[in-house]
């Protein structure tokens, strides 16, 4: 019996997320953004959240909707400012949400380090820039590095393509982005997927995220492509 739970509805998938939680949210722009899980989290009601994601929301859906609902107290991301990040922009300028900007590769590696049990690591990115101010540095073999600490999640919400009932995940194209590293870095990892198949139906050679990193899976309702019957 797999420890991964296949949830039948979105509300069940987000049960137990607490106020003040650090939530890792997958996606790069809208590619890989787990919008159904985020909508369920809005309904579930957890607040004072710290959100870790590449961006700070686009348009009015997904992360932007969570921000608009007033549930987020801090955003840790690489690129908050976009043409359609008006929800975040307004909250930030009003002083209602804190921001930590992290170089994108450092964000990925700090999350990876959390999942891999690394206590901290020396990284060349950002040396001599404002984003390294106040951080410990060291010269190793003549090159300067900045000490960076892992980012652990209480929860990770990710979007994937296919899951099997053992929790193994496949992704689709560039929607993979932060999914695999976030899955490993959180105490509770929840994936929304287009399709759930039986254990054994994914070739073990091509599994991207092994089920050990995945606690809950939510299968999204399939979008019907059948022509709609219209009475004549």
């Amino acid at each position: 019996m797999s420890r991964t739970t296949v949830c039948t509805d979105a509300a069940e998938a987000v049960v137990g997320i607490e106020d003040g939680a650090t939530v890792l949210v997958g996606g790069f722009g809208m590619a890989g953004m787990p919008t159904t899980l985020i909508d369920a989290l809005i309904t579930q009601g957890a607040s004072e959240l710290t959100i870790v994601s590449n961006n700070a929301g686009n348009g009015d859906t997904g992360l932007a909707a969570l921000l608009a609902a007033g549930r987020v107290s801090k955003v840790i991301c690489s690129f908050p400012r976009q043409a359609d990040s008006y929800v975040f922009d307004a909250l930030y300028r009003a002083g209602e949400v804190a921001l930590e900007v992290v170089p994108q590769g450092n964000l990925a590696e700090r999350i990876r380090a959390a999942g891999a049990g690394i206590g901290a690591f020396f990284c060349p990115t950002g040396v001599g820039t404002p984003l390294a101010e106040g951080k410990e540095t060291r010269t190793i073999d003549g090159r300067d590095y900045v000490l960076e600490y892992p980012i652990h999640g209480d929860v990770a919400l990710i979007g994937a393509h296919v899951a099997d009932r053992a929790g193994n995940l496949l992704y689709r194209k560039t929607a993979r982005n932060f999914g695999p590293v976030m899955a490993a870095a959180a105490a509770l990892t929840i994936a929304e997927v287009s399709c759930v198949v039986d254990a054994g139906d994914i070739d073990p050679e091509i599994v991207v995220t092994p089920g050990i990193f995945v606690d809950r899976v939510l299968e999204l309702p399939s979008i019907s492509t059948e022509p709609v019957e219209v009475a004549s």
Partner: protein, 229 residues
């Protein structure tokens, strides 16, 4: 008139009987200097145009930091797929031999020195190759760095594409950057509409002019605070 200056190498070529480079010609100049078979990351904005001038037969492989090697051109019509975008979130296509990977692997490629060239825009470049391209420093600006700092220090060679002069007429290739830095001593070459420069070529902090377009080295030197060699 094309004039070649200097007996020692590298010589400077002044293309005087022409206008400044336009944006497309600038992109073509960058593409010309990317060796066949290179793994290349093109930054968001103007650097993306370089892809249009790469010879398909040269086998240059494009990397996009959101997790793909072998990126093709912009997707149109039925080829648009919300799960396949470039770093600017524009729908793109895949080429034969393409691969997908997660973000930590993507930046390991960069930081680990596996990319041959990246092309970035800039607010300022210093004569020793410091780059400022992520933040104007304005107090009301929302800071957003994306992958700029990782790209700046990761690729073996960093090419910058920018206008040589800001709107107020001041040069953007400067003795020392006044904007917040993206990376230290990371830029190899600067492509502008007026000229192409090598910066900090031998680690000596000197700027060498390689080619000029519609202007002479002497006239550029009058408008710039860095010494041109």
């Amino acid at each position: 008139m094309t004039r070649t200056l200097g007996a020692s190498t590298p010589t400077v070529v002044e293309h005087l009987d022409r206008d400044l480079l336009d944006r497309r010609e600038l992109a073509a100049m960058v593409a010309r200097d990317i060796p066949p078979g290179s793994y290349v990351n093109l930054g968001i904005g103007q650097p993306t145009m370089v892809a249009d001038y790469l010879d398909p037969a040269a086998g240059v492989v494009l990397h996009t930091e959101n997790g793909m090697l072998g990126m093709g051109g912009a997707a149109v019509g039925d080829a648009i797929d919300a799960d396949l975008t470039n770093a600017g979130k524009i729908p793109v296509t895949e080429t034969p031999g393409a691969s997908y990977f997660h973000h930590a692997d993507s930046f390991a490629m960069m930081r680990g020195g596996h990319l041959d060239v990246c092309v970035l825009g800039a607010f300022q470049v210093s004569q020793r190759g410091d780059l400022a391209n992520w933040h104007t420093g304005a107090p009301d600006a929302i800071p957003a760095v994306g992958g700029a700092m990782d790209l700046a220090i990761g690729a073996k060679r960093v090419f910058v594409m920018m206008t040589l002069f800001a709107k107020d007429g001041t040069a953007k290739l400067v003795p020392q950057c006044t904007y917040p830095l993206t990376g230290l001593r990371c830029v190899s070459r600067v492509y502008t509409e007026h000229a192409i420069f090598d910066v900090d070529g031998d680690g000596d902090g000197r700027v060498r002019v390689l080619e000029t377009f519609g202007v002479s080295v002497a006239s550029l030197a009058e408008r710039m605070d860095v010494e041109l060699h």
